[in-house]
């Protein structure tokens, strides 16, 4: 009864298939089955947003979604954003604003920011803060992060 499920999905544009147990979260599948370790485990209960990924264009906590639920779907993770040679504008602005300290929350913030700017390329500061309510940072506080998001919006618009 706990036999494994066969799942096919598209992750960062690549066709991926894997076997998982029904009880495995998408976060566990990403990190432990597929090796996408850029997505972080924080609280594992939906409070911190460190595990944020974009599923079918929607920002979700991968710790609250089952692995089997991505069957036939399109997923974007932090690994799909930028490369060491060419950072994504959101990554670049997080660096320039020093919007990180220990860094464990950063992939989640960057993925959340991408989801926001994909929908709303010119957010107000209030909209940025409302949107990032689901991402926790316990080091820097949020002002530098909010500035980085607003600067990233500008950078993308001007590029």
């Amino acid at each position: 009864m706990s036999s494994k499920v066969h799942v096919q999905a598209r992750i960062n544009g690549d066709d991926v298939e894997f076997l998982c147990e029904p009880r495995q979260s998408l976060l566990e599948v990403l990190r432990d089955v597929l090796g996408y370790t850029g997505t972080k485990e924080g609280c594992n209960n939906g409070n911190c947003g460190a595990c944020s990924v974009i599923l079918e264009g929607r920002l979700v906590n991968s710790c609250l979604v089952f692995g089997f639920e991505i069957q036939g779907k399109e997923l974007q993770t932090i690994e799909g954003m930028g490369s060491p040679e060419e950072l994504h504008p959101v990554q670049q602005q997080f660096l320039e604003n020093a919007a990180l300290q220990c860094g464990i929350c950063t992939p989640g913030f960057i993925v959340s920011t991408k989801a926001l700017l994909d929908k709303n390329p010119d957010p107000t500061e209030a909209e940025v803060r409302y949107w990032l309510a689901g991402n926790l940072c316990r080091c820097t506080g949020y002002d530098k992060i909010v500035r980085a998001v607003l600067d990233a919006a500008k950078a993308i618009k001007n590029s």
Binding site: S2, L59, V60, C63, L64, F68, S112, A115, G134
Partner: protein, 324 residues
Amino acid sequence: MKKFAYIDATSVDTVPSLLGRRFGQAQVLAGGTDLVGELKEYIATPDRVVNLKSIPGLDYIRQEDDGLKIGPLTTLADIETSTLINDQYSVLQQAVSAIASPQIRNVGTIAGNICQRPRCWYYRSEDFDCLKNGGDTCYSVRGVNRYHAIIGGGPCYIVHPSDSAVALMSLNASVKIQGPRGPREEMLDDFFVLPELNIMRENGLRANEFVTEIIVPASKPNTKGIYVKVRERDAIDFAMASVAVTMTMSGNTCSEATVVLGGVAPVPWRVPDVEQFLQGKQITEDVASAAAEMALREADPMSDNSYKIEMTQNIVSQAILDLA
């Protein structure tokens, strides 16, 4: 998490038999944002998880002549941003936008939000065999009860965690329920049950039933609604206290009102006395204060939660004055 088998349901009719007659053996999966937490903590230990997302057509918002119909799997984010939901129902959108975070609203569903299990920390902990977990003690009575019920509690003192249910009750909404013998419809006023009637559940759904539609009747012209919620942590939190008020106004006079409290009782707590009191009244600060006091008249706080009385009175009077 205990191992389970999962089943993709393919039609509404087949769900009751997939769920079976005994609570605990099977769980429905909609958004999963509440269920996954319960599974991880071994609060829910089903053998089967029945996935409703594989049933086509349960995700919709329809504005019809007699009101608004919402599919059970409609996400909170879709309700929050829908342009189909017009001003008369804005109390629902206000409440939904105060739920959790964008990540959770993107996944969590309206029926799941109404049917979510309580957040009481004794209930949510594996270490306490509280009344709701089949034990014989409500640990909040002698324990830390800061967030527990001040009205309608006993023998268990949970508060109902749903924001949307409070708003929907203020709109006189009902739910359509699918069971083994077909569909039935129930007003939200009758849907939720107090612990004194059923300690194990928060609503009247049987083990083999599930919600298939939310029905919100059209309201009278000149009706407006407001949802006010107090959270300890503004970014994401459940309500310490909340209120949904709707008022039909002619000039400064209220001809009809609904008032529902959240975060203070084991069910969304409607206060009919206050609704009657407001009828035909000119809305002034004195009237709002009197209504607020009346709304909390039955409050019987525990050792750490008497603060909720004044907090709730304040938001009730603020909500009434904002609508006038």
